[in-house]
Amino acid sequence: MQSSAGKLIKALYETFPDPVLATDRRGRITAVNQAAIEVLGYAEAELLGMDPTRLEVPGEGGFYPERAASAWDANEGWICRNVRLQRKDGSVLAAELRQLPVSPQDGAGAGLVSMVRPVSETPARETDPADIDQLFPSALESISHGFAIYDQADRLLICNSAYRNMHEAFKPSIAIGRTFEAILREAVESGRYPDAGETPQQREDWIRQRLDLHNNPIEPYVQRVGADQWVQIEDRVTADNYRVALRADVTPLVRARSEAERLGFILEGVGQEIYLVNPKERRIVYANKAACDNLQYSLEELRAMDVRQLNADYSPAELTEKMQPLLTGKIRALNIDTRHRRKDGSIYVCRIRMELMGGTADPMILSFGEDITLRIDTEAELERKRTEFESLVRSLPDIISRAKPDTTLTYVNENYARFSGRRPEEMVGRKFMEFVAPDARQEVLAKISSLTPEAPMKTLERPMVDAAGRQCWYLWTNLMVYEDGKPIELVSVGREITESHQAREQIAHQTRELAARNDALEQFAGMISHDLKAPLRQVRLFADLIAEDVSSGKTDELGVFSAHISDRAKAMEQMISSLLEYSQLAYQSIRPSTFRFSEAVAEAWSNLAVHASEARARLIAETDAELHADLNLMIQLLQNLFANSIKYRMADRPVEVRVDVEVGDTAVSITVADNGIGIAPQHADSIFGVFKRLHRDERLYSGSGLGLALCRRIAESHGGTIVLDSSYRSGARFVITLPRVAP
């Protein structure tokens, strides 16, 4: 065991963290490890051959114990004591000195191995040197790193569990006494090394390379030992050809490095320019590819520049002042729009966001830059289009407004403002309902409320009155703009349709009139058919009866039949004459002129003078009103009404006809009333029909049934009406209403 420990110490001292000094029998230092050089501050050459007592603090001694000579001979094991040593720079090192005599058969000759452990690292409990042999394996086990020693024949002397368990590939092959190559080959052959290659040759090459690194270590390297496991391998060869193998599981580090590399790839790949700037030195530490490409500099060139040189808008002083709040922590981020100068001198506009990355001793500024040249061009294009749109809107004859969903106006065009007699700025901010006629508001609101995301646009025709009081018609198109189902804006366009509306109304009126005329014509034709066929049929039948009676020798009713034929023929003559009169008067074009209405009244009455005289009729007409109408038609209208008054009189009283005229602002009302037999209210409308007669008996009331029909035609041809006042009980009273027309 003593021999093994000696070998172990010999192998260890090269890599041992504490200074180890080997002295020969003459008391000269023959070997030192790296730790001795570092801790004591001497170069190796200075230490080799040095008397170790020179390391003692003057006057304190202690490097050699008093019993050292006997101890060396006695081989009593480790001698431990606390000493104070002096480094090359004069500083004092309090240390525990452990010394072990080396027997002649274990080394080149009898000597002493001294281990210097600084007092601060000295275990609290003194360790018996006799336990060191047991302590080493125990201490090795406590190391988390893998540790192994291979002898000069590269056979495994010792290793800790961490070494065995460091990776699964190696573990099954590890055994004390096996060479490193044997262990490695077995592990490779069993396919436990993922990177060893697929073919035997590849594996052989890989093994050779690995063995070469083992035998001639240069520096630590990382090797993948599993799908997701990496180990840092550090092999050292001691001066006496022992190999010390150190293994550290660096999987987390490798993973972190992978993440960092990935992040680096991302940063390099993004289109946005990214800079990491050291604000103290004003140097770019890092710039991604987008930044380098756009600026046309390599990263090395950028690193060599003062970052402020890139800015074309601000001087270095201005930029420093601008960044001051960020550097002092007053603000967390700084956004500026500026211009960057490329290597070729060209300029581009960019928007920079800078954030101070704290938390380290050397704070950095992380900057994100965006080349907004294209955006600015786009915005300029949008602005140009907006201006064009504005011009277009201004030139349109339509009324255009934009409003919030609650109808608060946000925009009105000039036409709308002009229509309302206001300036656009007076209207914006007010609800457009204020500019809608009160009686139309409910309809407009209902129309707007009915807009939905599915049916966001509706049209509405409505009358409007402009600032000058002109009545006009507008076709409104309301479009509600929705975003995520919520209304955000109401766009309304009103187009004047007054002319087309009037034309449409005119057409509708004409259509209605045409339909009414068609109805009247159909009715007229029906009447003609009925009222002309009836007498003709009777004439035929009575003629047949006459023929029958004559053939049978009967003569008693021939006179009656003959009278009927004569009577029917007369009726037809009258009917045909009336129809001719009706057609001449009813469908002729009116020739309006201005006349005193009393003239028409007098003429009409004069035409009936004989009948009026017979009926002892009296006319009461005291009016000096003037009328603009067709004089002849008015005379005919009045004459027909007067004739009815005379015809349908009460037998027991003289006829009295009263004519009154009332001239209003827009219409003239003419009333013709008599004291005759009157007309039942249920016939108030039917009496104006063609051939409509309420009395069949010609002996009492003769007539064609066309008089009142003609009156209605004349009134209607003047754009007026004639109605029976059914409330009048003292006879019949007709009311003619004509529009008041300026001459």
Binding site: G526, H530, H564, S686, L694, R696
Partner: protein
């Protein structure tokens, strides 16, 4: 009742404001074969209502346009309202008006143009509307 008893004449009421139509129909009925026919005549709907209320009317020929009424849609219902349940036929010089299609709705059984009225038509109408109808006397005979 026996077959020797004289047959009760069928009574027709003509409602027409033109008396000439009465004369013409009377001459037409004279030529109709079959059971005896009796023709009553009134010139307005008010008189017609009185006649049907008085009873004894078997069939009514109603002129479409009776002055001052508009057409049968005003007059025929008055007869039904008076309790008349026998056939009512509308006669007119012109039955081409579309409203004639509505005659069943106003209690009218048939319509016929005046120019179509002759003894054949009258015979057919009487046969059609009296074939399954028994007079009060006949009903008593079978009781």
């Amino acid at each position: 009742m026996n077959s020797d008893q004289p047959q009760q004449p069928m009574k027709i009421l003509l409602v027409d404001d033109d008396p000439a139509e009465h004369l013409l129909l009377r001459r037409t009925l004279d030529k109709v074969d079959g059971p005896p026919l009796e023709l009553d005549y009134v010139a307005d709907i008010a008189s017609a209502v009185e006649s049907v209320k008085a009873g004894g009317i078997d069939i009514v020929f109603l002129d479409n346009r009776l002055v001052p009424n508009n057409d049968f849609r005003e007059t025929a219902p008055q007869l039904r309202e008076a309790g008349f349940i026998g056939p009512i036929g509308i006669i007119s010089s012109d039955i081409s008006g579309s409203y004639f299609q509505e005659f069943p709705e106003f209690g009218v059984d048939f319509r016929i143009g005046k120019s179509e009225i002759d003894r054949t038509t009258i015979s057919f109408i009487i046969a059609e509307y009296t074939r399954n109808q028994l007079s009060d006397n006949c009903a008593e005979d079978f009781s």
